[in-house]
Amino acid sequence: MLTAKLLADRRGLIFLAILAAAAILVPALNLLTPEGSALHVPTYAMSLMGKYLTYAILALALDLVWGYCGILSLGHGAFFALGGYAMGMYLMRQIGPRGVYGNPVLPDFMVFLNWKELPWYWYGFDWFPFAALMVVAVPGLIAFIFGWFAFRSRVTGVYLSIITQALTYALLLAFFRNDMGFGGNNGLTDFKDILGFNIQSDATRAGLFALTALTLAAAYLIARSVVMSKAGKVLLAVRDAESRVRFLGYRADNYKLFVFTLSAMMAGIAGALYVPQIGIINPSEFAPGNSIEVVIWTAVGGRGTLVGPAIGAILVNFAKTTFTTGALAPYWLFALGGLFVLVTLFLPKGIVGTASDYLARRRAAGAKPEPVAAPTPDPAE
């Protein structure tokens, strides 16, 4: 039943197929073709694509709360950064005595600050399974506590958006402080290896890329199975008429809390995959502007479509790279700002939403409508 329904979605299938192909082809073209070959994918390009894919996971996570439950979080960058910091702490511990100061336990910045011992909250991060658990547990817990308060007291709409922004702003200020023990301004960097593999080597980079592509696929499947379940219908109902849902006996708060926490965990995983590919995590990831950018990726792709936000994240970031590395760099903020305005005014359903509306209209009128976007009922082979 489950697989049958999952497969009954051609858009999703295409998306998954592309991801699977990318997970195999890109690393293969990087590792197996010679440097000068026309088919060769340079490592920096692969890492760049890997970064886009982590952003795609983040946008997909945001879509789950915004597109399907109407919660416009302006703080999802914070969960991404928290996951990133958890991974960064693991990578810091892996450096061991190879740091500049050669301290076997303390990361360089702590030696520099004259700290004598590892703070208690750094314990266990040298052990990968624990760090991996923290990658989801910390963002999840913070989202849970925050949501527990916010949803229970029925803070909704823009009020909620503004306090999520305040949340990430507060975290930004906190992580800038040296005595927080997360490297202050500079954050965590100079990583050496991950699970014993050299973090700089092409093979490790290729592996990370493939892992990111597969994680995006997995995140899509999880999100899709949530929105297709009855709980997913409740979420949509909460988005459209929250109080009606309560009168039906559902605790809307719990549904929101569930999806908010789940989404924060996904964002955390995205951040954890981002850090080893970029090689640094610092407090600027908490900047409120970052979180709002995630919203625009989601809006561009088409919220409430899952695939759309992932595409939007990749497109917008590709454009950003193109812009900011060329002569057009000063105009990037004009372009980004314009994108915010134009998408909200003229493309409220985003690229995928608009396209599938168009396709649905062209198809025979008898097609069965699906809650959020038009369906593609015939299963692919």
Binding site: V155, L333, G338, T344
Partner: protein, 536 residues
């Protein structure tokens, strides 16, 4: 408590009231220049020090330039033993001021730290008679800190001649410091000195009283201990008052930044993320006005802010109205979309300003009436902060009046309360929307003029205020101007009282967390409107 307040009042009086003085006839002395020159030329630091003391005590008009030259390593000894002052290569006789040309290169006189200390005290004493009030004030302070008993004759002279109340009070305190440490003074004199120093009442007074040598008689010691306790209580109170003032000052900045938002968000319900950029525009208008004045009408500099105010209001209001007409009006009833679109606008405005004016901070100067500070008892009050508080309150009440008593205000309230009814009564709601938004933006522009005085004028200026402004408006209760006022001052004062304990950053974080929790407890803010109007 009442006692402490009384102390503070008496302290203010002590500052303001002219102290009485005793005249001392100045004893004219002739200088034994040969002996002095020999002393300075000596290889022994002790002899040099003695010469410094003698020269200082002489009261000669040449004492000051000589000692200053010594201090600046410009006092030299010629081969013939004459004392010269090195005037950038040319020399003059130290005692007569006549120019001389030495045959060989003279040797500079060396000083050690001990001599430097003596020198500082001596020069302090000498400048006590300077015609420059500021210099006298500094000198009196220096003598107070050096606790130099030997300066007493000079002090007495200076006190007699002094006409400025504030300088005189400082001189009397400096004299008391000497008396207090003078073993030859009588017990009664020393107890009286304690009282004088106690009346001074600041950290330095406390420091002096708590570092008395062991020799002081028990009665003086007891008086000093009592004085210390009293000063501590008083200082604590001043500290609270100073924090309160800083809080008021921060609160007024928050209020100023938030008032415009209280209109656009509070009254109209528009989430304008570009609000901070309206503030920034106001600040840049101020910059442009000042630049124009600097280059073309330098005489008008002191009026630059006054000229900038209406222009900043207009420019920000026009930009605001353009935004409302071109984007926001299509998004009424869709707050989240409005939030995103206005965020985009804020990026565009920032980049536009960056392109026009460059990414770095621009210098906006302070007109003379806004620079400097004055003491109010134990408070230090800077003029720019004081003017901003005043300005904020003026803007606030003017806005209140505008909403309450003008036709525009009436129509604004009508439209926000019941749009369709207002439209049915012939109010052009579109126009009112535009004007209301323009008003909110214009006020943000005014805020920019004021904030240019205390913040860096850069393209990022506005970003620093947007989250704070929303916090203030939401905390105070949306749609309630008074709530915004109370919210801003509450947050400002709370912030300043938290800072000493938690540090600036942590204090701010704590406050943010508090507001987040508060909004969750009372989602509609401190002064919530009730009823169905809110739910719509």
């Amino acid at each position: 408590m009442a006692h402490a307040v009384f102390l503070i009042l008496s302290r203010i009086l002590a500052v303001l009231v002219v102290a009485f003085a005793l005249a001392h006839p100045a004893a004219a002395q002739t200088l034994d220049t040969a002996a002095l020159a020999k002393g300075f030329a000596s290889r022994s630091f002790d002899d040099v020090e003695k010469a410094v003391t003698q020269l200082a005590a002489s009261g000669s008009p040449r004492a000051e330039p000589i000692l200053r030259a010594l201090n600046d390593r410009l006092l030299v000894i010629a081969a013939d033993g004459a004392l010269l002052i090195d005037k950038a290569g040319a020399y003059e006789n130290a005692f007569t001021g006549e120019a001389v040309t030495p045959t060989a290169k003279p040797t500079p006189i060396r000083v050690n730290n001990k001599i430097r200390t003596t020198l500082a005290a001596a020069m302090g004493a000498l400048t006590l008679m300077s015609p420059d009030r500021q210099k006298r004030l500094e000198a009196a302070e220096a003598v107070f800190k050096s606790r130099d008993a030997s300066a007493r004759p000079l002090l007495d002279k200076a006190i007699a001649a002094e006409t400025d109340a504030r300088v005189k009070a400082r001189l009397i305190e400096a004299r008391a410091a000497g008396v207090l440490l003078d073993q030859t003074a009588t017990e009664a004199e020393r107890v009286e000195a304690v009282a004088t120093i106690r009346a001074r009442g600041d950290q330095d007074a406390k420091g002096l009283l708590s570092s008395l040598p062991a020799e002081v008689p028990p009665a003086v010691k007891a008086a000093a201990d009592r004085a210390i306790t009293a000063i501590e209580a008083e200082l604590a109170l001043w500290n609270v008052a100073q924090n309160g003032y800083y809080g008021l000052s921060l609160g007024s900045v928050l209020l100023l930044a938030a008032i415009g938002l209280a209109i656009t968000f509070g009254v109209m319900g528009i989430i304008n993320m570009a609000h901070g950029e309206m503030v920034m525009i106001g600040a840049y208008v101020t910059f442009v006005v000042q630049e124009t004045i600097r280059t073309s009408f330098p005489g008008l500099f002191d009026y630059s802010l006054l000229i900038a105010l209406p222009l900043a209001f207009l420019v920000a209001a026009i930009v605001g109205m353009a935004i409302e007409r071109s984007v926001i009006r299509f998004l009424y009833g869709r707050p989240l979309e409005t939030l995103l679109a206005t965020w985009g606008i804020s990026l565009i405005l920032q980049q536009a300003v960056r392109t026009l004016f460059g990414p770095t901070n621009r210098e906006v100067g302070a007109p003379s009436f806004m620079s400097g500070a004055f003491d109010l008892g134990g408070l230090v009050i800077t003029y720019n902060r004081l003017w901003i508080i005043v300005f904020t309150l003026v803007v606030f009440f003017a806005l209140l009046m505008l909403l309450r008593f003008t036709a525009l205000g009436l129509q604004m309230r009508a439209v926000t309360q019941n749009r369709r009814m207002a439209a049915a009564m012939g109010i052009r709601t579109n126009r009112i929307d535009m004007l209301t938004f323009g008003l909110g933006s214009g006020i943000a522009g005014l805020a920019g003029v004021a904030l240019s005085q205390i913040d860096n004028v850069s393209p990022n200026l506005g970003q620093g205020y947007i989250i704070d402004s929303f916090m203030v408006v939401v905390f105070g209760g949306v749609g309630n101007l008074w709530g915004t006022l109370v919210g801003a001052f509450t947050i400002g004062i709370a912030n300043k009282f938290l800072e000493p304990y938690a540090g600036a950053v942590l204090g701010k974080i704590l406050l943010l967390v508090f507001i987040i929790l508060f909004i969750q407890k009372r989602p509609r803010g401190l002064f919530a409107l009730k009823g169905r109007a809110v739910e719509a």
